[in-house]
Symmetry: C2
Subunit: 682 residues, 2 copies
C-alpha cells in the first residue's frame, strides 16, 4: 500500500539523494554562526522599515523617535541574548524553549510554547519569503510585479528541495550570510564615511516625498500607543534568536561555551546592523508609509497604487552605493538569499520539534523516528501549505504578515525565561557551594529580567497588534494546542486500555491450541510456498481452505491436490454469491465457537510486486480479508510473501529511501546516547 | 488501511443501505419489459428530432424524406430484434454480445465488443441525462437555462444513489416507463383523432418558423450522404436493444421464450412510437435546425442565441395537448424520468460487464466478486466521471453527444450477429435432425441478415459521423482495448511466473526450520498476546526482539521482562539513529545468511482501531516494517491483532458493508450454479 501513497510524491520529487550519514560533523563557531543566525540576522532586512512605517502614521516628524525605539530594541536584544546564554549553559543537551518550559512549568506551558513555535515556523517562511521577494524586487522589477506568484514559487522550490533531501553543509549557509553581513557593514561604513568625512548628502529615492500623516498631532496616550506599536514592529528583529538553544549538541566542544559565544556575537551583529540601517535611513531621508498609495505624496499628489515602496535596506543601499550599481545589486541579491535561507531554517526546525513532540505523544509516534522520511515529508507539506495560504491571503505583503509574527516568538521567550527562573530556584534549593550559588543567583536575575521584559513586550505586542492580525496567530496556536491535546489524550486512553495487569494471573484466557488454515485458490508457487511454510509451524491442526466460486476451478484444484499428493487436508467452502471474505470469516468464527480457547492462524499467500499499479491488480481480496480478520478475536493473520520479478525494482527503491537522511540534520548534531528530555517515560 | 481510503466515500455516500438478498426474485414479462426497455424506449425521445434536424440542412423541403427514413429505421429495428431473439434462444444463460463474440469469433473480437460496450455505457449516461434535461426544460425553463449544471447535478445524484446501493425493484422501473409509453400513445391517438377525425390543424410552436438551408438544392451524392446521415441519427432509436440478451437469467421460466417475447414487444412499441412522433411532427409543422440560432428564421430574422429549440416530443405534445396543459406537463416529466432511468441502466450494466471481464482477467480480479462494493464503487465513479466530462465538454447538448453514440452500439451488434452466424455453422456441422437443422438454417439466415445490415449501418455511421464526433468514441474504445490488453498480459506473465513445476521435485529449497521473532516495544497486553500466540506455534527457535531507541525505555522493558519471568529470550538491538525498520531487516537478513534453509517468522502485535484518524496514530511503523519485510525472501509476517474498544464501531460498519448488495442485481437474476462463460478456465 505504501507504494500507492508514495506515487504522487515520487513523481514530483524524484529519487531521494543519497546523503552522507550524520557523522561526527560538529560545527566550528565560524560555521555555526551562519547556520543558526541566518534567521535572526535576516530580520534586520525588514524590522527597521517596519519601525519607520508605523511612526509615519503620525507624520515624518515622528521619525525622530526612531533612535529611541532602536535603543529599546537593542536593550531587548541584549536582554534576550543574555537570557539565552543562560539557557545554553543550563541545557547543553539542546534544551529548546519547549523542553525548558515543559520541565520547569509543566506540560501545559510546554505545549503552549510548542504551539507558538509551530505557528512561528509557518510565519518565518511566509515573512522571510515575502521580504526576500520584496528585496529581490528592488533590483528586478519583474519580481515585484508578480509578487505573490514569485513568493509562492519560492516556497514551492524550497519545499521540493527539502523533500528531495538536499545535502546540507555549513558552507551553503556561510557564503550568503557572510556576504549579507559584509554588505550591510560596508554600506554602513561607506555611508558614514561619505556623510561624516566627505560631507556628501545622500538621497534615498523617497527623500523628496512627503508623508500625509494619518493622525495629525498625536499626543499623550495615542502617541505612546503608536510608539509602542513601532517598538512591537521593531521586535521582529529578535525572531530566531532562540534557534541556537536548540542546537547546542551540534557545536564543537566546549559546546555550551561555544554556543554562548556564538549567541553573543550574533546579538552584537544584529543590533549593529539594525541601528546602522535606522541611522542611514534617517540620514538619507527615507520615507516609508503604511499605505504608500495614499499617504506618500510626490510633488503634492499621492503616488497612487502603481507605486512600489522598496524595502528600507534597498532605499538606503541606493542612496549610499548609487542606483543600479554593482554593490547595490549584490546587496539586494545577498539580502534575498539570506531571507530564503532563513525560511529554510523553518523547514529544518519543524520536523525536529515534531519529533520531540511525538516522543511526548502529542503527535503521531512515528514522527519520533529520526529521518522517517514519510513523517518528515508530511510535516514539510503541512508547513509549506500553511505558508502558501498565508502568503496568498496577504498578497506576499511582509508588512501585513509581520503583524502576525511576533506574538508566537514572545510567548515562547516569556515562558522559556520564566521556566529558567524556576530552574535556578530548584537548583538553588539544593546548592550549598557559595561561588556556585552566586553564579546561579546572577543567572536567575538575568532570566528573571528577561522573563519580565519579554512578558511586557508580549503584552505590548498583543495590545498594539491584536486587531492588526495577531489574532490569526493566536487562533493558529489554539488549533495546534487543541489537536495535540486530543492526540495525547487518545494515546493515554489506549495506553490505559492495553496496560498489562500487574498480577501474572493475566493468563485466565491463555490459549491452548492452534488451528492453522492456509487459504488456497490455485496450486501455484505462492500457494505451495505458503503450504510448505505452514507445515513447518507444527500447529495442532492444519488444513487448507478454498472458497469455491467456480465449480470447474474447484474441481481442477481438487484434482491437482490429489495428483501432487499434498498431505494437508483440503477443505472447500461453497460461496454461491462468489463472495470470498464472508465464508472465511464465518468459518473462522465457527471454529472459535467450537473451541473458544483455540487460536486460529490464517496463512495468506501474497504477491509482492514492484509497481503501484500492479498493487491494484493483486492482493486486493487478500487485503480486504485481512482487514476483516483482524477484527475477529483469537486470530493471527500471516502473510506468506511471494516475490515476483518486478518486486526487485521496489526493493531497490525502498533501500534508497532507507538511506535518505533528513535535511536539518546539520543543526541537530549527532544523537546523544542517553540524552533524555522531559516526559520521556510518560 | 481500507478505513483510510473509504473515508471520502463514506462521508459522501453515508451508510450502506441494507437491501434484501438476491433471492429467487424472477421477473414476469410485464415487469421485465420496463426493467430492460427503459433504455431503448426512451431513445424515441431524441431519435425522431435528430432525423428532422439533419434533414433541415437541405431545407424544410427535405422533411418529406423523413417517412422513408422512418421506414428504414423500422426495418433495421425489426432486423435487430429478430436477430437478438435468436441470441436469447441460443444463450439462455444470458450471453451478452461480449460472450457471443468471444465464444464464436475469439478473444480479440470479444474485447472489441467489450470496449464498445464500455464506451456505450458512458454515452448512455451522457446522452440520456442531457436529453432528459432538455425535455424537463421544455416544461421548466430554469432547467434549460442551467442545462450543463442540471445535467451534471443529475449525474451526481444518480451516482450517489447507486453508490449507496438503492434497493431496486421492478416497480421503480414500471411506473415511469408505462407512464411514458401511455403518454406517447395517448398523444399519437389524440393527435390522429384531432387531425383526421376532427380536422383540426395543430401547430407546433415552431410551425410558422422558416429554416435557412445550409446547403440549398442538394442533389445526387450530397443528398444521399445527407439522407444516410439522417438515417444514422435515427438509428439512435436502437440503442439498448441488446440489453435483454444479457438479462435472460432474470426472466421467469420459460426464460428464453419470455425474453424473446419481451424483445418483440419492445421492438413493436419502439417503432410505433418512433413513427408516430415523426408523423405528428410533420403534421404539426415542427421545425428543427442544426444551428437554431442562425438557421431558424422567425418573421424574416434569425432567432438568435437566446432561443431554445425544444425537443420534438415536447413541441408535438404542445401542439396536441396545448401549451402548459396538464398532459403536456405529465408527458414532459415522464419523458425526463424514463431518460434518467435509461441512464441508470448504464450504472447497472457497467459493473456486470466489469465482473465478466474481470473473470477473463481483462480487469482486476477483484471485480469478479459479485457485490464487491469497492470494485463496484470504483466502476461507478469512473463511469460518472467520464459522463460528466463529456456532458461538460459538449454543454449537455444531446445532439452533439448523439454523434458519438451510435458507433459503439453497431460495433457490438455487428460482431455479435457475425458470431451468431458462426454459432449456427458450428451447430449445423453436428446436427443431423432435419427439423432442427431447418430451424437452425432459418436462425442463421436471420442472424446473417442482421450482421450484414448492422455492418452496413456501421459503415454508414462511421462515414457520415466520423468528423462529427464518432472519432471520440473510437478513441475511447481504443483506450479501453489497450488498457484491458495490458492488464491481461500482466496477469498472464504473472501466471507463468508462479506456475508450479509439474515435477514434485520442486522441493529443492524446501525450508527446514522456523526461527520465530516477536517484535516487542513495551510489555503491554498486545505484546503479551503476541508472545502467548507465538509460543503456541512450536517454532524451532523463538525469541523476542526489541529495538532500543531510548536506553531508559529499554531498561524498563528488560526489568519488566524479568519481573514477569517471561520464558522467551529477549534480544535487544541498538539503533543509534532511532530507526526501527533497518535494524530488524538487517537482523532477519543475518539470520537467513547464517542458515539459508530456515524460514523467519516475524510476529507483529497490531492495534485494531475503529476510526481512520486513529490509523494515523497507530501501526504506522509496523505497517512500514511489514512492507519492507515482505520484500525479504524466506520471511513470513504475522499480525497478531489486539482489538481496542473503538474497533467495535469499525466492526459494525464492516458487517454492514458486507451485507450490501449491488444495484443492478434485479437485472442479473440469481447466480446460475455451474453456469460457465467462455475462457473461464483460461
Amino acid at each position: 500500500m505504501s507504494k500507492l501513497t508514495d506515487l504522487p510524491k515520487r513523481i514530483l520529487i524524484g529519487r531521494a539523494l543519497r546523503s552522507d550519514k550524520l557523522g561526527e560533523t560538529l560545527l566550528p563557531k565560524r560555521i555555526a554562526l551562519p547556520v543558526f543566525a541566518s534567521d535572526p540576522l535576516s530580520s534586520v532586512a525588514y524590522a527597521p522599515g517596519e519601525v519607520l512605517l508605523v511612526l509615519s502614521i503620525a507624520g515624518v516628524s515622528a521619525y525622530h523617535f526612531s533612535p529611541w525605539i532602536a535603543v529599546a530594541v537593542v536593550v531587548l536584544m541584549f536582554t534576550v541574548v543574555a537570557s539565552y546564554r543562560q539557557n545554553v549553559r543550563a541545557y547543553p543537551s539542546g534544551g529548546g524553549d519547549y523542553e525548558v518550559a515543559t520541565t520547569n512549568l509543566g506540560p501545559k506551558a510546554g505545549l503552549t510554547v510548542a504551539s507558538a513555535l509551530l505557528v512561528d515556523y509557518v510565519l518565518t517562511v511566509a515573512v522571510s519569503i515575502s521580504s526576500g521577494v520584496e528585496n529581490l524586487g528592488s533590483a528586478i522589477p519583474f519580481v515585484i510585479e508578480h509578487k505573490t506568484f514569485c513568493a509562492i514559487g519560492a516556497i514551492v522550490l524550497l519545499t521540493v528541495m527539502n523533500l528531495r533531501g538536499v545535502k546540507e553543509s555549513g558552507k551553503l549557509f556561510a557564503v550568503p550570510t557572510y556576504l549579507f553581513v559584509a554588505g550591510i557593514f560596508l554600506m554602513i561604513l561607506w555611508g558614514a564615511f561619505r556623510g561624516l568625512i566627505l560631507g556628501d548628502t545622500m538621497h534615498a529615492p523617497t527623500s523628496d516625498f512627503e508623508i500625509k500623516p494619518e493622525h495629525q498631532g498625536l499626543a499623550g496616550f495615542a502617541l505612546v500607543f503608536l510608539l509602542l506599536r513601532a517598538f512591537s514592529s521593531g521586535c521582529a528583529a529578535l525572531t530566531g534568536v532562540e534557534a541556537i538553544s536548540n542546537g547546542v549538541p551540534a557545536f564543537r566542544k566546549p559546546k555550551s561555551r561555544n554556543a554562548a559565544t556564538t549567541l553573543a556575537l550574533m546579538g552584537l551583529l544584529a543590533v549593529t546592523m539594525f541601528c546602522g540601517i535606522i541611522g542611514l535611513a534617517l540620514a538619507t531621508d527615507v520615507k516609508m508609509a503604511e499605505n504608500p498609495a495614499v499617504d506618500l505624496i510626490r510633488d503634492g499628489v499621492p503616488v497612487g497604487a502603481g507605486f512600489t515602496q522598496d524595502p528600507v535596506i534597498a532605499q538606503v543601499a541606493e542612496a549610499v552605493f548609487g542606483h543600479g550599481s554593482f554593490l547595490f545589486m549584490v546587496l539586494a541579491a545577498a539580502t534575498a538569499l539570506v531571507l530564503f535561507l532563513a525560511a529554510n531554517t523553518a523547514y529544518n526546525g519543524f520536523p525536529l520539534l515534531g519529533s520531540i513532540l511525538a516522543q511526548d505523544r502529542y503527535l503521531p509516534r512515528q514522527l519520533h523516528t529520526r529521518g522517517d522520511r514519510l513523517a518528515f515529508s508530511n510535516g514539510i507539506v503541512l508547513l509549506a501549505g500553511a505558508a502558501i495560504l498565508l502568503v496568498w491571503i496577504y498578497g506576499a505583503d511582509s508588512t501585513h504578515l509581520i503583524q502576525l509574527y511576533i506574538v508566537g516568538v514572545f510567548v515562547s521567550f516569556t515562558l522559556s525565561q520564566t521556566g529558567m527562573v524556576r530552574h535556578w530556584n530548584r537548583l538553588l534549593a539544593d546548592e550549598r557551594d557559595r561561588a556556585r550559588r552566586r553564579h546561579m543567583v546572577r543567572s536567575r536575575a538575568i532570566n528573571a529580567f528577561g522573563a519580565f521584559f519579554c512578558g511586557v513586550v508580549l503584552v505590548i505586542v498583543l495590545a498594539t497588534k491584536f486587531t492588526h492580525g495577531a489574532w490569526v496567530a493566536l487562533l493558529g496556536m489554539v488549533i495546534f494546542y487543541g489537536t495535540m491535546t486530543a492526540i495525547r489524550k487518545h494515546y493515554d486512553r489506549v495506553a490505559d486500555e492495553i496496560a498489562a495487569d500487574e498480577t501474572p494471573a493475566d493468563e485466565s484466557v491463555r490459549p491452548s491450541r492452534v488451528h492453522a488454515i492456509v487459504l488456497v485458490s490455485k496450486l501455484h508457487r505462492p500457494t505451495l510456498r505458503a503450504l510448505a511454510y505452514a507445515q513447518l509451524i507444527r500447529a495442532d491442526q492444519l488444513e487448507a481452505l478454498s472458497i469455491s466460486v467456480d465449480p470447474d476451478e474447484t474441481k481442477a484444484l481438487r484434482e491437482d491436490w490429489e495428483r501432487r499428493a499434498i498431505n494437508v487436508p483440503l477443505k472447500i467452502l461453497d460461496s454461491p454469491y462468489r463472495e470470498v471474505t464472508r465464508p472465511v470469516i464465518e468459518y473462522v468464527k465457527g471454529l472459535r465457537r467450537q473451541s473458544p480457547r483455540d487460536v486460529v492462524s490464517v496463512y495468506i499467500p501474497e504477491y509482492v510486486v514492484g509497481h503501484w499499479y500492479e498493487h491494484l491488480l493483486h492482493n486486493q481480496s487478500a487485503l480486504r480479508l485481512k482487514g476483516r480478520l483482524l477484527f475477529t478475536p483469537g486470530v493471527m493473520v500471516t502473510s506468506v510473501p511471494y516475490q515476483l520479478q518486478s518486486s526487485e525494482a521496489a526493493k531497490k527503491r525502498a533501500r534508497k529511501r532507507a538511506d535518505w537522511s533528513a535535511p536539518g540534520s546539520v543543526r541537530r548534531g549527532p544523537v546523544e546516547r542517553g540524552h533524555k528530555g522531559p516526559n520521556r517515560k510518560g
